[in-house]
């Protein structure tokens, strides 16, 4: 079998220290007398605007998972009564709450400080259960913002209005009360400005997924996601993405691929397997499978050009969640499939991988039907890989490897038949 080579990007080496700094600043926030919020969903931008330090549910779980610390948190949660099948992100936080409360031993680099406020943006009902569980265990004030995905385009505007009203009515007054000062709309605008610039650069980078060979992979984007999400507003965000864009441009110019040779270009659906990126990456690289685009990583402000810095910032943000955004709309049945059909052509994809997380049912319900529809319309194969983002017990790599190997064979057979025609 042909040997494949990975060409690591120089820029992504910078992200580790940035992310570490984010979490260590959070850990030491209380020592500096700063307020802390724990959040699920995208609403942390509002406490950020008030200078609070924020923990973001999925970002933290990915961070802890990436550092191999998730199993310990899940173990603590299950000792406290949580069940194996419960969302592992939820459980990681219940484990953390128990560890804080009972002073259980835990690695320093994954510890979180006690929050002063819990905020939930209910994009997924479990994001709400997370805050409910924490409230019951830690008795800390909760602000809940319901942000349901729209059923179809007809209720996008109703939901946008609803989202905006809740932020104004509850979230802003609560952070004002906790911080003892009026809400800082100017800082909110500044954060939005940085977010806009970062996401515009990110979109330029995303375009390079179209190049053959692609100068970067979806994993590279995965590790670069923090500046367009839970590190939004950070002064490091724009320089990072500028450097990344320049490096990609240079690589594209020289036709350097992230993985060489690039045998199969694939779409990746669902969560990135944060706790196991290395394992997936090694296996896929050995088969010449290069993950490129995915609808989850694309949900983070895909249309930054619509962030209107002259508009009321709360309204602008609500639009990013709904009418101008991807955060709540990625679940729209009539939206995700057409996007995928289009991407398959635009990014010259050879197959689709549906990562079905056993403990998170956010993406997996439609996976087999997605594959059928793609096979019908685009004529490329798909595979479902069952596993979990951070729970090692739910990933059987013997099985995953076999599936990926069979999938590579399917893609090869199809490519051959297209050439033979």
């Amino acid at each position: 079998m042909q040997k494949h080579k990975t060409n690591r990007l120089e820029t992504t080496k910078l992200i580790g220290p940035m992310v570490d700094k984010h979490w260590s600043d959070l850990r030491s926030a209380k020592d500096r007398g700063e307020m802390v919020a724990w959040c699920s969903g995208p609403m942390f931008i509002f406490p950020y605007a008030m200078g609070m330090k924020c923990h973001f549910m999925a970002g933290y779980a990915a961070y802890a998972g990436g550092r191999g610390a998730a199993d310990r948190l899940l173990e603590i949660a299950e000792d406290e009564g949580d069940l194996l099948d419960t969302c592992s992100y939820h459980k990681a936080h219940m484990g953390m709450a128990a560890a804080i409360k009972k002073g259980l031993p835990l690695r320093e680099d994954v510890k979180l400080p006690m929050p002063d406020l819990l905020i939930t943006g209910r994009l997924c009902p479990e994001m709400s259960h997370y805050a409910e569980g924490l409230y019951r265990r830690m008795n800390i004030n909760v602000v809940g913002i319901d942000t349901p995905p729209p059923a179809n385009e007809s209720n996008v505007m109703i939901l946008e209005k609803f989202c905006e009203a809740q932020v104004r009515e509850v979230l802003i007054p609560t952070v004002e009360k906790i911080c003892g000062k009026p809400f800082d709309y100017d800082r909110l605008r500044e954060i939005l400005a940085i977010l806009k610039e970062t996401c515009l650069l990110r979109n330029e980078c995303w375009e390079y997924f179209k190049k053959i060979p692609s100068p970067w992979t979806l994993w590279d984007y995965g590790v670069s996601i923090a500046p367009v999400f839970y590190m939004m507003g950070s002064p490091d965000a724009v320089p990072y993405y500028t450097k990344l864009r320049d490096e990609l441009a240079e690589r594209a110019e020289k036709k350097i691929g992230a993985i060489e040779p690039e045998d199969f270009r694939v779409y990746w659906d669902g969560w990135l397997p944060w706790g196991f990126l290395g394992q997936f990456s090694r296996k896929m690289t050995s088969l010449g499978i290069v993950p490129l685009v995915g609808r989850y990583p694309w949900e983070f402000f895909p249309h930054p050009e619509t962030i209107d810095l002259n508009e009321d910032p709360v309204a602008t943000f609500a639009k990013q969640v709904y009418s101008n955004g991807g955060l709540a709309k990625q679940n729209l049945p009539n939206m995700s499939l057409p996007t995928l059909h289009k991407w398959i052509d635009e990014y010259h994809l050879d197959g689709v991988i549906m990562f079905s997380s056993k403990s998170c049912r956010m993406w997996n319900l439609g996976h087999p039907d997605f594959i059928k529809a793609i096979e019908r319309k685009n004529g490329i194969p798909g595979v479902i890989i069952e596993g979990d983002m951070v729970d090692s017990r739910m990933n059987s790599f013997a099985q995953i490897d076999t599936r990926l190997e069979a999938f590579a064979e399917m893609m090869a057979a199809r490519k051959k038949s297209v050439v033979d025609l």
Partner: protein, 381 residues
């Protein structure tokens, strides 16, 4: 009917397909399946369409698994299985309420497979602290109403809605009465019979069901005891969201000398707990009921109302000695809540047993052993 009313409830619960098809044939009415709890059925009823609560079949899921992964709740998998096996083709529509990720993901599958003529995806809000929650809820209910008007071709008036509410309230009252009869004399009804009775209400036209429930009450008034064990252990059950619980599990509880005196399950007291007021603004009245936080429901995002306290209170009022958690396997809202219930009950010294209710139960023996131990613990053996 007098002696066969409970049996009729069983027939309907065991074969809701037949009842629904017959009903359609007899009345030429359309039927809409309501998937997920809390859908205001009265609005569907007021449009002249018969709402039925989505059920899970008794068959193991087969073809459905090529559309939905095994690690989803039984109702979701079974409903999709039925759908792709063409067993639900008599439905004129499906309305889903987003109460969990299963219901959030379902629309995609419904769109991709042969479709019912009417599909509606509702997102009734979480019970958070904000005035806009109510505004949005009313807007969402109005959207539901307008969609139904369009589909049925019938304008839904205030009177239509209030008439439906009256019929539904009557049904709630009758079910409540049956529960009271059981509370006073728990040995008069088997747990599975209680479930058949409530389930019949979920499947049948409500007026039809009201008549049947009156017969059930008559039957109970003349009934001999059906659970004959001496001094059975009084327990309550809770959980069982959205779907029927395997009746063999309920039988096992009774076989082990326990009697269910009350419950907080969906195909149980949760279903009829909240009568709706008759007012000039019935949509708002329906909204007000939805916004009530008792009985607590883990799907509603209400972090302030403590479900465990509610259960402790229910156990105390009924002099129950233990609580059985009927947790639908892979049901996230209950799974996420469960540790808090378990731990609080343990702190209070109230015996609790978790039974994960699977659609395809793998081992009744294991459940039996656990129930046996539970009964022994309660009795201090």
């Amino acid at each position: 009917m007098k002696n066969g009313a409970i049996n009729r409830c069983r027939e309907i619960s065991e074969n809701p397909y037949r009842y629904t098809k017959d009903w359609k044939e007899k009345t030429c009415k359309k039927v809409i399946s309501c998937f997920g709890m809390h859908i205001p059925e009265e609005i569907v009823h007021a449009s002249g369409i018969t709402p039925v609560i989505a059920w899970r079949s008794d068959e193991p899921v087969t073809i459905g698994h090529s559309h939905v992964a095994t690690f989803n709740c039984g109702l979701t998998r079974s409903f999709i299985d039925d759908l792709v096996k063409d067993k639900l083709s008599f439905l004129d529509g499906i309305a889903i309420n987003r109460i969990c990720l299963q219901t959030q993901g379902m629309p995609f599958i419904l769109e991709q497979n042969p479709k019912a003529p009417y599909l509606e995806y509702l997102s009734l809000p979480a019970l958070y602290q904000s005035a806009s929650i109510k505004d949005y809820l009313i807007e969402e209910m109005k959207r539901f109403k307008e969609g139904l008007e369009k589909f049925s071709g019938k304008k839904i008036t205030t009177d239509d809605l209030n008439n439906s509410i009256i019929i539904y309230n009557k049904n709630r009252k009758l079910l409540k009465k049956i529960y009271e009869i059981r509370r006073k004399n728990p040995k008069i009804l088997k747990a599975k019979e209680m479930m058949y009775i409530v389930h019949s209400s979920m499947v049948m036209d409500k007026e039809d069901n009201n008549e049947l429930l009156n017969h059930v009450i008559d039957e109970l008034e003349n009934r001999d005891l059906v659970t004959t064990s001496e001094n059975p252990i009084r327990v309550i059950t809770y959980g069982g969201l959205c779907q029927t619980v395997n009746t063999r599990i309920l039988d096992l509880i009774e076989e082990l000398n326990m009697v269910i005196v009350d419950d907080d399950i969906f195909v149980g007291s949760k279903y009829f707990a909240k009568p709706v007021k008759i007012t000039d603004n019935p949509i708002e009245a329906l909204g007000d009921e939805y916004l009530k936080n008792t009985p607590p429901c883990p799907t509603k995002g209400d972090y302030k109302t403590d479900w465990t306290d509610f259960l402790i209170d229910m156990a105390r009022k009924n002099n129950a000695k233990g609580i059985i958690s009927l947790l639908i396997k892979y049901c996230p809202p209950h799974m996420c809540y469960y540790p808090d219930i378990k731990n609080k009950l343990s702190e209070k010294g109230i015996p609790e047993l978790l039974i994960e209710v699977e659609h395809e139960v793998i081992s009744f023996e294991q459940i039996k052993t656990r129930l046996q131990t539970f009964a022994e613990i309660i009795q201090g053996v």
